[in-house]
Structures are given as C-alpha cells and as structure tokens.
Symmetry: D3
C-alpha cells in the first residue's frame, strides 16, 4: 500500500544550455524544475507513493510554474507557502566527451533561503506521514535554512515520523555564510533513521578519518543510535557520456551490494543520486529485503541517467525490468 | 537497369518524443512517415529502382501528407487509394542508455484496416513488375488485411511476379482479432520467392521446433517450393545506443554470412530490418552474388541506424563504401 | 470562498501545426491537452475554485500525460478512470489572414467513447459539489456517451447539485452514430440550472423557430423549469486574426449585455467559448450581479484568445483588469 | 479534366530568418524551395493539373532535396537535369510593422545559369502539353538563360503549345550581365498566349509611355498577335503585415476586375504573384469565364499570403470558398 | 565623422517566454541581452558611432556572454569590470491582443548593484568622449547605484563631456531601498545636456504640477541651466499588438514634432524608448536640425518595434527610409 | 602577457543539418561562422591573446553577421574589408555511427576569392604583431588567394613577424583552378616559423617520399631554414562518434609526444585541428616547454570535439584541467 511521504527542501529552476552547447552559445535555455528533495519526491510519486512537498516558493509566475510541475508529476503542493522574493536558479552547461558539465548557481537570496525557520507548521504536516525526507542542501543555504532543517527533523522525531537524510555536502554553500556544517549535520543525522552518506561525509561530521567505507558506516551507526540504514553509490566516469554506478546498503543487520550498471551514452546525470535515494526509500518503506532494496535503488539511479531533466520518471515495473536485465530492444 | 517494384502495405505516421524525452515530457512531437513496406520501398527507390506503393490511406490532410513524403523519396503513389477513416499512428518514445524504446500503437480502425480486401485492382498494378513486396504486418491487422494480403500474393503468383515476404511477426496484433497467424502466413509464404524470416517465425508457421537456424531454413525450403532465398539478421544490444548486426543469406544453392557491423551511438533503430530487406532485394533483383547481396544488405541495415526516422535514405555508393570499410573522417 | 466543482467529459490531445503552417507542412506538431469540459475546469481552477475532473482516459502514456497536465493547472484527477483503448485526438491547422483554421478529428473509438455509461460512480463524486459541468459533446460521441451524460445529470439533479450545460452542438458527431440529438439534449437541459446555448441550439432542441435570441431564451425558460440562467456570445470575424466577441446573460429576473471586446491579432481562438462559460460560472457561483457576471465572462473569453492552447490560464485579477479596460503597456 | 503543364525555370533554395528576426540575428535558418516557375507549378498541381518541371539543378544533396520537395507537392521532375555546380540561393529577412522584408540574392553562377541553352530536349518534353509556363527571371540571369528561354518558347510555339509568360522584371539581374532585357522579353512575349505583366513592363518592352494600364494592355495586344489574355494585380501595403490585393484580366474580348481582398496579418508575401498566375492559368486552361478566372486568381493569390514558404498549397475548394467569402470560423 | 560615446549602466539578461505563451507555459526561454543604456549603445553603434560600455558584470559565463553580445553589435567592452556575484535578470511574458506584457524582475543583488560607486575609473574612460549616456534606472537600483550615477555625471561635467540622461522612472525600484529618487535625479539632471523626460518625470523631480508638457519642459530648462534639449514620446495602444508613437524635441531655441507612426503587428515593444533616445542623440551629436532629429528619433523608435529583443539593429539608411515613408514591399 | 596575433584567411558560413539528419531531411539549418584561420583566432582569443582578423567579406548582411560573431568571441575585425560579392558557404551533414560526415562546399566566387591580392595593406596591419597565422586553404582557392597568401607571408617575413602555417591541403580546391599547389606552398613554407603539416604534406611539397613522419620532418627543417617547429596530430576513428587524437611537436632541438585522448561521443569534429594549432601556438608564443606545448595543443584539440560549431571556446584553465586528467563529474 502507498505510504504518505513528506519531502522538505527548496524548489529550484534549472536553466540548461540546449544540446551540447556552451552556456548561452545560442540564445535559448531549456527550463526544468529541480532540487534534491523535489527529485526524490517525484520519483517516489512515480513509484506510487502519496508525496507531499513542504517548502517556500516565490509568489511570482516562476514559483507558480514550479509548483504546477510538481503537481503534474503527482506530488501534492498544498503544504508549500508562497512568499515575496525570488526563485533559486541554477544554470547548467551540459558537458560532453571529456568536458565536464558545469553548474553556475544563482540561488542566493531566494524566497526559501529568506523564509523564517518557523514558516512551516509541522504540526499540520507530519501527522500520518511514514517518512520525512530532507537533504544536506537545505541547512547549507544559510542560517534560516539550517534552523529550519533542524526544526523539521526534530518535529518529525518528536512525532515519531522516521527521517531520511541525504548528505549532499556542498562546501561552497557552507562557506558562503560561514556555517558550521559538521555540527549542524550532526544534529540532523542524530534524528535520522535512513541516511544517504558516504565515508567522506561521515569523516567530516564525526571529525574522524576512516580507512574505508565500512568502518565509516560502523562509526556512524555507533554515533547515531536512531540510524537504521545507510546507502551509498560508487560512480566511475570514463568519459562524461560513459559512466557506471553501483551501490551498497548497510543496516545494523547486514550489508548488500548491487551489480555495476554500465551507463554508456548518459543523457542527464543530474538527479541520479536522488533517484537512487528514492529507490532505496521505496524498498525500505515497503519492507523489501536488503538485496531487492539496493538493486532497485541502483537500477532507479541508473535509469535516471537516460531521462532529461532533474526528475526521475520511472515506474516500479520499469525499474524492476532494468534490475532483471531485460532485453533492450524496442518494446512494442 | 532499374527494376519495377511494387510494395503493398499500410502507411503509418510516427509521432516521436524529441531528444531522449519520455513521451509528452515536453509538448511537441516529431512526425515522420513509416510502415514496414514503405520503408523498404523508399530504400529501394534510393537504390535507383522504380518503386510503386499500393495501399489505402485516409482521405484527409494526414493521408495526403504521408503520400507526399513517399513521393519526395521517389516512390510513386498513383496506386494508392484514399478512403474515409483515420490514419494509423504510432507514438515512439526513444530509449537511451539502458531504457528501451517504447512504442504505443494507435492504428486500430485505420482506413487501411477497414478497406475491403478487393479494394486494389491488382490486374492494373502488377503487369511489368519485377517484384511484389509485402510484410507480415498487413495480414496481422485484421480479417480485411489478411484477406487482402493473401489476395495480393496470389495475384502476383498468378501473374508470374516474384513475391518478397518479410515476416515481422507481431503476436499482439494477431491476438487482437483472434486471427490464425500461422495458417495465413503459411499461405502467403507458399507464394513467396524471397523471405525475411528467422527460426522463430518458421517454427511458428510450420508448428515445429528446430535445433538451429539452419535446420529451420532447410525445413522452409522443403515446405515452400517456390522459395529461393531466405535472409535474416542477428542483432546484439549491449545498450540501447550500442548495438551490432550481422546477417546471413541462404538459397537452395548456398549460404553466405556478413561481417558483424558494430553500431555505437545508434541514432534510430526503427526501420533497420526494412533497410536490410531492401538491401537484400537490391542484390537479389540485380542478380549479384550471395556474398555481395548479404554484405550489401547488412551494410544498408547498419547505415539506417544513423538516420532519424523510419526511412533509409542511403545511396548504393554509400552502402558500398560502408561495405568496404571506408575511412570515417569527414568527406569534403 | 472557493466552490467545489465537478467537470465531466472527454480529455483530448490536440496536435497543432506550428506557426501558420499547413498541417504537416513541416514534420513536427505541438501538443496540448483540451476538451470542452477540461477547458472550463482549468479556467475555474485558475479562478481559485476546487475543481475535480471526472472522465475515462486511455491507460497508456498519452492518457497519463493528459492527466498530469490537468493536475499542473490545479485540477484534481482522482476521479478519472483509466481503461484500455486509445485517447481521442484532434489535429489543428491554425488559419491566418483569410484562411480559416481547420480541425481534423481523430477521436472515434476512444477509451472514453467505449466506456460503459455506468463506469463512474457518481455517488462518490457528487456529494459536497456546488456544480456539475457538462457539455453537448459528450452525449454526441455515441450511445455510451449519451447514456453516461444523462446518467450524470440525473445523478446531480437527484443529489441536489446544480448542473451547468454548454450546448456545443456538433452535427457531424450526432450523424456519425445516428443519435437523436434533440431528444437527448432536451433530457439533459431539463436537469440544468445554467445553460450556454443560443437560439440555434434551442430551436433544434425544441423543434421550433424563433424570431430572435430573446424569444428563444424565453421559450427555453418555459420549457425547462429548473433553468435559471442562459448565457451566449456573439462573435464577429473580419479576418481569422481579427475578431470581436460580446455576450449576454439572461435569467428569469433580468438581462445583461457586455461591451464588445475587439480582438486584433488573435493567438488561439480554440477554447474561447469555454473560457467564457467558466467566467460566467465564476460569477454565478460566487453570487455576483448580472452585469459583473457577463462582463467577467466576456473578458475571460476575450483574454483566452491571447493564449496558445485550449486552456485559459487567467487569474481573476487579470480578467478584472481587462474588464476595467486597463492600460495595455508592459506591466513591470 | 486535368491538363498537362510544363513549367521551365530555375529552382532556388530560400533561407529565411526565423520569426521576425533580422538575418542571422539568431543562428538558424528555415529553408524552403522556391522560384517563380516552381511556385506556379506547385499551385497548379494542387489545383489538380499534371505538372512537369523542366530545369537544371546542381548534382549535389541540395539539388536532390529541391527536386524531392517538388515531387512531394505532386510536380513531376523527370525532365529536370542534374549538372555540376551550385544551387541558386536567396536569403530572406522577413519584415514586420514598417520594416520591409529584404532579400539577399546569392544565385550567381548556379548550375542553371551555367547550363548550355540547348541542355533541355524540348522535343521530348513538349508533346501533349497544354501549356508551357516561363517567367522573366530566366532570361534575366544571363546569356545562357536568355538563350534558353527564347529557345523554349520558340519550341513551344513551333509545337503548337500555348506559352504563358510572367514578367517578373528584375532590373538588377539584367544589369549584372548587361543584357538587353526589353529586346529579349519582346521576343519571348511574341510567342506568348497568356501574359502576367503590367503597364511598367509593357512600357519597358515596347519603349513607350502609357497613360494608364488599359492603354498599355491595348498596345500589348496590338504588338503581340498571339497574345490572348493579360492579367495583373494591384497591391496596397498600409504596413508590412497589412496589405490588400485586387486583380484584373483583359482579353481581346473583354475585361474583368476582382473585388479587393484585404490581407491583415500577412504570413508570407513571397509567391503571392505566382499563386495569382497559377489561379489565372487554372481558369484559362479550364475554359472558365473571365469573372471566375480573375476572382479565382486573386483569391488564390490572397490565400497564399497565409502560408509560409514560396509555395501555394491551396485546393480548388479552398480557393472557391475564399471567393465566396466563406465564414472564417474554425472548420471542424 | 563618428563620435565617441560612453554608455554607463547595468547589463541585464532577458529571459522571454516563446511565442505568445504565458511564462513557463512550455519549458524553454529565449534569452537576449538588454538594459536601457546598452540598448542605446547598440543603436548608436549601428548608426556608426564608436561606443564604449562602462559597467560591472558578474565574473561568470552569463556575464561573459552578455559582454560578447555587446561586442557582436560593435560596442566596446574594455571598460567593463567583472566582479563576483550574479547577473541581473528579467523574465518577460510577451502579451497579445488585450493581455499586456508582464515583466518579472530578478535583478536584486546583482554584481552591478553591489559594486562600490568608485569601481569605475572615469579619468581613464571619459577623455575624448563626445557624450556620456546614463538612465534613471542606475540610480534607482540602490545606494551604490545612486552614488555611482552621481559620480559619473559629475566626472563628465568636470571633464567637459556632455551628459545625456534618460528618465526611465521606476517607482518600485526606488521604493525597494527607500531612495530619495527626486533629489538624486535632480542632481543628475543638473549635469545633463540632453534629457529624455516627460512632464510626469519633471513634476516629480521639481515637486511641481504642470498644466501640460510644454510648461513642464520650460520649467526644466529654467531649473537646469546646462540642459539644451529635451525629447519625449507619446504612445497610444489600441491593443497590445497595435500601437503608435510620435515624439517631440524641445531646445532653448525651438520645438519640433514628428508625424505619428502607426505600428500594427508590434513584434517587440521593449527598447522602443531606448531606440528613440539613440535616434535623437544621433541627430543631436551630428548637429542635424531639429526636425530631422525628432523625425529620425521617432522612426528609429518605431522600427525597433519590428525587431525581437531589447536591441535596435537599424542602420541610418533604414531609419531614413522609414522617415521618408518608403514603399513597404519586399526589397530585393 | 598577451601577444598580438594576426590571422589571415577567409571567413565562411557553415550551414549544418540539425541533429543527425541528412542534409535538408527537415527544412532548417543551423548556421555558424568558421574557416580555418578564424577558428584558430577565436581559440587564441579565448586563451587571452589579442587577435586581429585580416580578411575580405561580402558587404551584405551575411558578411556583417560573420564579423559580429568574430567580435563576440573577442577577435578584432577592424582590419577586415567589405567588398561586393558573396560569402563562401559550406553545408555540413553530420555523420553518425558508421556514416561519415559530408561537406558540400559552396565557396566558389566569394568576395574573398575575388579580392585583388593587394587588397589588404599589410604595412598597417603587421607592425607590433607577434605572429601571422595563415592556412593552406587561402592559396588553394584561386590565383588571387595564392598571390594574396604569398604577399602576406612575405610582408610578415620582411617585417620580422613570425609566420605560422597550417597545411590543410585540399586537393579539390587546387584542381578546380589548376593551381600549382606544391610550388606555392613551398614559397609560403619558406617564410614560416611554425608549421602544422604532416608527412603527406611534406612529401607533396618537396616532391619526395618518406619512410616515416620523422624523416619527413627532418627534410622539412632542412628545406626551410626559417622553420623552428612542426606539430601534427594522429587521429583514429573507430566510429564517427568515437575517435582519439594524439600529437607530436618537433623542433630543431627536440621532439615531444602527447598522450592519446580518447574521444567517445564526439559532438563536432570540425575545427579540431584548428584548436590543436591554436593550442600549440599558445605554448610556443608563451615560451612554454615542448611537453607542455604539445600536451596543451592536444588537450585543446580534444576539447573542441565536445563543442558544437567550428569554434573552440575553451579557456586556458579548462585546457589545463583536461591535460591534468581532471575528474569528469559535474563542476558545481
């Protein structure tokens, strides 16, 4: 049965150079809606869950369009506030061959970043939810965001709603406002049941060094008693268009690894990690076993690389077919 | 010298999602004209033959546009009737990476499917023709189509016009009207001189099992005395964008196999089999030897994968250059 | 306060030639979602009402995309069923100068038209609704549609939910299945509280002739005791791009006419009548006076002509500014 | 019954700035095929006649594409030769408001201009033809073109095939090679049965001055005994987008004038005169009376202004509807 | 001979909905470069002057692209600084029929607005210049902008470089930072030789009321002894697409008015006032008489309405042809 | 510090079929500016040098647009003359899979080719320059071009400005006017300090045969005493989309080879050699060591394959990152 899931974070507009052009080489931009938590929400809705987005958007046509796009993909937006200000933007120059993709952020001073931490009334949003999902981007965007993120996960913990946290550590964002990233993320992680983090994140937060991913995960389980599952991916990039991903899931009970998915001819790498997180949450929420969960997560993340835009738009049937290594010929 | 060839079948409009988008991800569709027999006809016209299309299209702007496109590619359309009704459509969502392409058919109830089997006056169409080409799609679309296909090949056989038949077995189409596919295809094959079929098709039609392709082909030659040549491809797909094809030609006199053509960066896989068939027919009609014929066929099929749309648009010189493994640098 | 409104009808995909091209002059089509009742629903949602769509769509990617687009514009789709079959399509060749726009319908045999009349469970849909809106297209598409439409309005009447009916008489549709249009529309109108019909519609339904619009409206009020308000537009077209509309509203208590809105440089005339109906329903449901209601309706209909696609996407503030004859310079 | 018509002239590729942009404001160009005689031929084919194009094109992909587009519109191309060289091009910057459209020609040195005057074998082309159509552009492009044009009309006259001549006087072309335009056009006109010329053309050719159009036409009938009909248009342009045209037809037996067609919102003015000529030829060839003929011609010319590209693509039914002042609302 | 002109102001990127779509109706945006002073500079460069832009842009790919576009149009950019921060943006939803165009500004916090007033070294920029052009937008964007604008005009006045000032009063911008617009603009105007202002601007700045435009202009000449010429336009808008403009020029010596230019089918109204200002400056700098100057200015402003984007791209010959009421037919 | 560099050659407009379409498969073309020397100039400007282009372009909107595009990329155009005539064009059909890209040239009779050899006043262009760059295309286009090229390099040699020469041998161009390529290239090479040539070019010019590249280079150093450095690439193409390049640099002092850069998913191969030349010139002019120089050159050439159009648009930082084998993940 479908779970009720709340995703909390900032909605962004992505403005992308067409084809493989350099940014503004020609004078048009493709626009899509994105943001780490929105991406997770859209994938979970495509998997059949009831997803509600909690956020603050600009009270202008850009904000309204972004909400419309969420609704189009089945995500409820009635818990999103509108406020004066601007939408966060990011400009993407897609890479090719051996030229990496480049993002120019233009998200400072957004309505979300300027919103007071107490803007959202969690007492009206959380009851009945099976999960609150949040990412490390929200606390990184400024003092308001950090306070809002901590407030959200504490409300969830208090209400008995499991928290999912995706690290997404962005050093530049933290540095821009001199925020104490490790301390704040530690506070958030202490409320989390599920975490999408790797050894680099854990080292940073726990101010330790680890010999390998496994020992980092063990340290995290020890440091954060609420934590039940950690998942992470390993990505190889032999060229911008030719990558591979694999993943692993570790719980207090066991460890499962996925096969490697080769990804020749990548269409859009942005949001691949969010689709992976959504896939893992699908398995975890539905109580599937560890192997299914990590295989589903990696297959979802892999499939995302074939879809333009931030959003994954895969059904459970499509992800399971990819897990099963279906024949790749035209489906008629 | 150019041969006169008649292709009989349904013209379809293909509506394709742009780029690698999911169907209707954005709100435009690229349109092209297709259909198995039209694809063969356009390739044969590009090879220099005089090709005439025989069909029934809707008497509306869509039908007129489809005929115009055939003429653009040098196929004569004066033996196509217009009738009330709709054009058959199919919607294509091109795949990428490990996400297969998907077709949503919308061809039920078309003017072609609704046309009476005796609509076309074969006595006016066949005289002087060197070949009648037909595919297994036409008899599969319904009782009218099945009757029309049988009527066509019998008229050709009676008129001494060799028949070429491309299996194209589509189980879903046959099931939709509960048609006896194997029986009808057997009747058609008994009139055919050239067949594009594989061991799966033959097993189905002869209600036998075969250990391998060769024994199936031998059984076909035995069952169908008119049959002089069978050709088939073998396709590998390591990803949606990275495939390979090879082919073999078997006659009562011998067997020839082509080298494998690697196809990295496939642009459009639809119509690849039709271009192969056209290539083989070109060799057979022109009386080329078996090796040239299968090599030309596979090179034509391979080149089709570089061209958007259903149609192959390669000249004989281009196919022969690909056969010869020409240098791939820019031709100035 | 926002009213809860149910719109019942068929969702269509519109495929439009780009620019002023003839249909398939170039090989791409712009796609949008439309249908008379969906158009009304989207406008009412843009005016702030809670709108729920009731329908049957094809259980394929086209149906799913159409529903997504409704949600994008704030219309709830949880009362739409998915069923095997095809989506109804229509191809639009936009006119220009003195060449009229032309529509090629391709809606026969759609999942909606094939749905059993009792598919929708009105006992779960209607409670709490302030309005059921339906158009004359639904009963025209066949015996199933006619039975479903009658069933819907009778359920509404029985549940005390006011019914709004937009005539939209399409002779070709009725003729295609030999339906008794006048008799069925009469049955529907006898359940309606609000009607968007003109003297031609009334004459047809009542099998009478009228000297003018007023006497036709009087006859309608006499024939249909539930009817409380009739609204109709008058359209002039000095060229395809240069039109004007005006409207009138008649109730049992009075008659109001709008000023004429000149519409030079029309962008998209399709859906103008639906935006007018939505505007009138907005005034009627909100209990505004007759003059506001007809002025709002005509201004909404007029503004629709500036927006590409079937849907109106105007806010109440924008319509009221147009009513007030706002300055037309750039709004900064 | 359909007449067999031969059009002789140069095929051009037109490269057009998109929208209302200045040339190369953005970096794409829309391409279409044009040329005065091809435009006439396509319109005549759309009116149901059997049209054959006689020309020389470059033996490269551009020439092949141009021929394909003619065939798409139903014009036969088997009497077109391919020769080494380039295709003639012209770049169009469409105007708007009060900024006129501008053409940058790039047609010097084309394969057509370089072709020997005797390239085409008229003895194989003309037999059975009801008309040879030619324009004043062909002789203007150089000594070869002038000789070829004279050769063509003399061959037609000798074969008893009526000649239609459209003046299209382009001073710049004649000056570029110092050709004696008046003398050569006089020679051509002396072979013509139908002429599309105005008082300016006649004054130039006859080296006279005329008080008005009528006296010029009278002088032409006197000077050219073969001439049976002259038609000309009058165009008003209150802005680039807002024009009107009217026309008159004069024969040795009478004079007929059309109503004025107002053309607000012009889409594409190029080819309007060619569509007018095609319309007049349709009436003349079919033996319609003078009033029908000039009304049909002007309606055809008027409708062309609604269609992007050089080609008119109107059916007889559409032109006749425009003649009749049909209602301009959407045709469903 | 060409004059050397310096334009000082902010470069903006404009992101425009395609066609007549509502903002983000579809998911692409057309991008162009704009800003009041850049628009003036590009037009002056197209008129043959040597134009140098002085500004501060973001040191990212967006800033670099904006500078490239200025250079493309012949404006020198070596006096533009790059600094950390963002580019100012504005989103344009073009209107149609009776729906006004709407701008959503997103320019707060730009690198230009954040730049220290003393960033630009005027002692290196002004020497040899014949003019410094500035608009009222720059001082309105914040304390930095106001100080920078005052600093610039004082430096010009001290260096003996005439100052041109275009009012462009934007109340919303001044209110956003509580700036004393009238006082600052007064300071700037006191340094100006040429002003593009109307009676509303003058009333605001002089805190007076005027019966008509003439008395306001007289008061301005009295209040600002340096001022030698004032020019202003009058715009009528019967619909979004159908406007007219006229202009007047007043000096201490006389007053000249232009004819009214009707503008049916407006393509892009943004930048019309800037093209007018550039046209007037061209006449003033070149020492043309008052009538030529105002006629050239209004013709330039009028022609701008036919060109997509912020920039005018008209040559002197084109403007003079429009002044002369040239024939509007295709220029070949 | 930035060097002042002069590039001399013809500017071309490239018209490219969109996507992987065959030429004019659909009816639009993407346009960009190119030409071997312009490509080198744009890359050098992107590397921070002061680049001036010397050429003759058509005095029409196409020539003006081409110059604007050079300026956009930071190349000065004040030493380019405008003259009557046409712009050279080339049509590109991009290849895919195993179908090679094809160029249809249309550059005969251009304003550049027609310009008198003495058109450019080198005494005003060369003083202060650190380099004159020229390619073997210019002398190949005809007697004028050959004379102009020889005149340019002699003027440079006389003025003490080092000459860089890129072979670019195009047999078809030389044959078209029966030019003595080897003799003329020999004359040019005798003035060159830097040469981009391979063993095939040298054999042709010296009318010798060489066993390998090294012996050819040695012969060149012997034959041309001014020559200080030769660089050349080696390209492998396993498919149209999957290539590799490596390079070597040889001076009188040593020899350096680069690593091989694998180029899967090539976006645009045109201009790759020009970007390589620009990279080598950057290293040579800046006095970098041989290894840095060849590594930078090959990395620049490799990166060009990721950018649509003729121009490289890479910064020094980007090239150096590619040299260093930077991580290919998204740069944020």
């Amino acid at each position: 049965m479908a779970a009720r899931i709340v995703c909390f974070g900032e909605l962004l507009l992505r403005l992308t150079a067409p084809g493989a052009e350099r940014l503004l080489q020609s004078w048009s931009l493709d626009v899509c809606v994105g943001g780490a938590e929105a991406n997770v929400g859209v994938s979970l809705a495509a998997f059949g869950h009831v997803v509600r987005f909690a956020s603050v958007v600009a009270d202008n046509p850009l904000g309204a369009a972004a909400l419309g796009e969420l609704r189009r993909h089945g995500v409820h937006t009635d818990t999103v506030l509108s406020a004066p200000g601007r939408m966060g933007l990011y400009f993407l120059e897609p890479g090719a061959v051996r030229r990496p993709s480049r993002i120019t952020y233009d998200r400072a001073g957004s309505a979300f970043a300027a919103a007071a931490p107490e803007s959202l009334d969690w007492s009206g949003i959380l009851p009945g939810a099976a999960l609150l999902h949040i990412s490390g981007v929200t606390p990184a965007i400024g003092a308001n965001g950090a306070a809002a993120a901590v407030r959200a996960v504490k409300a969830a913990a208090a209400a008995g709603v499991p928290v999912s946290f995706d690290g997404n550590y962005r050093a530049l964002l933290w540095e821009a406002w001199d925020g104490d990233g490790p301390a704040i993320l530690k506070e958030i992680l202490s409320c989390a049941t599920y975490a999408f983090i790797n050894e680099r994140d854990i080292a940073l937060i726990l101010k330790s060094r680890f010999e390998d991913r496994q020992s980092a995960f063990e340290a995290a389980f020890e440091a954060f008693p609420r934590l039940q599952a950690i998942a992470a991916t390993t990505r190889q990039q032999s060229s911008v268009d030719d990558q591979s991903i694999a993943g692993e899931l570790v719980t207090r009970a066991g460890r499962w690894t996925s096969p490697v998915h080769e990804l020749p001819g990548v269409i859009d790498r942005i949001g691949g990690g969010d689709a992976f997180a959504a896939g893992a949450l699908h398995g975890l929420i539905e109580g599937r076993d560890g192997q299914y969960t990590i295989d589903f997560a990696v297959a979802a993340g892999a499939l995302k690389h074939s879809i333009p835009g931030d959003f994954g738009r895969m059904t459970v049937a499509e992800v399971e077919a990819a897990m099963a290594g279906e024949n790749l010929d035209v489906k008629r």
